[in-house]
């Protein structure tokens, strides 16, 4: 009987564990191991040469490798922060619009918003690159109707990264709206009624009842939004190639360029480890902020 149980267990868990183990967990360990080595990604792992902390020293050092990396890191940090700060309030606002029962059209809005999340990022990038086009694009045309001058969007170092943020927010907001709706449906109606009887207006009721009860949803959303944002790759690889003037060189693009295209596997792995560590720090920071808010 026991033997049969063990047999069943290994049949059930074997495939998933083996696949995730070999193709995710082992590479994860290898990434850390390779980051202490000099290694060309065109050669077997056995040819890696141990160099200790040298890759990391280079990343923090005054040479161009370090400068490029720090620029990419900084760009990714800006992109991530602005994306999250735009996505969370937007998703709550849109969630309220879908969730309210007074006017029709909520379900339709949810469908439209969520449909954008199904579109391949590559198609999003292509379409938006045309929408942003300075003279043939409709965005500057629409701005013109409101008397606003044309914007350079992707062609200026000061606006290109933010243009990519807009594209990201457009694609992802539907997903976070659905999360917000999920949070909103779990708030008992009686709480809002109690607040109304106590004489709270809708705004007070939102900040006093809705927002505190949405905190766990927003925490989850913030973590997912950060993880998604550091993965930005397609629009940069395809349209800006990290430009203009390095302003959209982001980590995923940069790591792939160094580690795969230039075959500097050790250096690329050290960058990947730094990305991973920063992500862990960022997620811990989000949790810490959440705890602080809870105490107040």
């Amino acid at each position: 009987m026991r033997a049969a149980r063990t047999f069943n267990l290994s049949i059930m868990l074997g495939p998933a564990t083996a696949l995730i183990g070999v193709f995710i967990l082992v590479p994860m360990v290898l990434t850390v191991w390779l980051s202490f080595h000099e290694w060309s990604s065109q050669t077997p792992f056995s040819s890696a040469r141990f160099v200790g902390l040298r890759n990391y020293q280079d990343l923090f050092g005054p040479i161009s490798v370090g400068r490029d990396f720090r620029r990419a890191f900084f760009n990714t940090a800006i992109y991530t922060c602005v994306s999250v700060l735009a996505l969370l309030p937007l998703s709550v606002m849109l969630g309220l619009l879908v969730h309210q029962k007074r006017a029709a059209g909520g379900q339709m809005l949810r469908t439209v918003l969520f449909a954008t999340y199904m579109v391949p990022m590559i198609a999003v990038a292509l379409v938006w690159s045309k929408l942003y086009s300075p003279s043939e694009g409709p965005i500057n045309q629409i701005l013109g109707w409101f008397g606003l001058g044309p914007q350079p969007w992707l062609s200026s170092p000061s606006t290109a990264l933010y243009a990519l943020v807009i594209l990201n927010v457009w694609q992802q907001v539907g997903y976070f709206t659905v999360l917000a709706i999920a949070g909103l449906t779990q708030i008992p109606k009686t709480l809002h009624e109690a607040a109304r009887i106590d004489g709270a207006n809708p705004v007070q009721s939102f900040f006093g009842v809705t927002l505190p009860l949405l905190r766990r949803t927003l925490l989850f959303s913030a973590v997912i939004a950060v993880i998604n944002a550091v993965q930005v790759f397609e629009p940069v690889a395809l349209i800006t190639q990290g430009g203009p003037a390095g302003s959209t060189n982001v980590l995923t693009y940069h790591i792939r360029r160094v580690g795969i295209e230039r075959a500097q596997g050790g250096m690329g792995s050290a960058m990947a480890v730094m990305l991973m560590l920063s992500l862990i720090v960022a997620i811990f920071a989000i949790f810490a902020m959440n705890r602080k808010a809870e105490e107040q």
Partner: protein, 278 residues
Amino acid sequence: MTRSGSLERALLTALILTIAVIAAFPIVWMVLSSLKTPQESMQVPPVWLPRTPNFSAFSEVSDVIGAGRSMMNSAIIATVATAGILITSLMAGYAFAKYRFRGRSILFALLVGTMFLPPIVTLIPLYRLISEIGFNGSLVGVILPNLANAFGIFLMRQFIAGVPDDLLDAARVDGASEIRIVFSVVAPAVAPAIAALTLFAFVYQWNTYLWPLTVLQGNTDNYPIVLSLGRLLSYNRGAMNTGLVMAGATLAVLPPLFLFVFLQKFFVDSIVSSGVKG
């Protein structure tokens, strides 16, 4: 109903419509642009509606990048990977939901924790690993690392935990093997979750770009449609090919959107019930 109430409702409806139009605009623009003539695409200020729908971009795009073949590759990648994810997730989800064994929570945390790992972190060693076993440039190399997935295991465990044990015991009394129980008793009981995971996995695998780009190494015969779209951009640069690019993008968007229309309900319900218990 008071007058202020109906005014409020009208304003809300207007706001909802405006946002929906803004959200849908890029997709509508994409489809419209794929039907414009090259001259219409180049006009300043831009024309919004093509005078007559012009489908020549679609036939041209098929020649330039072999769109048919690329769509086929995408279909193979997404279908096989989705099937793999469904099978491995059902089995592992069942084990985590219904078996008690030592190290269960550690193993579960280890597997599901990979959900939060951006693919770029493991990309470099994975690329080398796949070339060491000789699958570089092949569809097998694209699919193999994607046959199991943390989100799938997590989702299935959530739903299978709610399947009553009596149902399983009854099947065991009838002499069904555990494998049979998973696929003929548990699977039908969690059909909505299977529908949701099908959509999630298929759309994700159809849309994924970074891994195929890395593993296929310029072997354009095996390119999925998303990679072929990237090639389209460097073909005949300039506004002349806007229609082409938009036609290609429209082709790439159709299958995921089509599936979404059918399975939307399950997908939204699964997000609502799987992650966020407030």
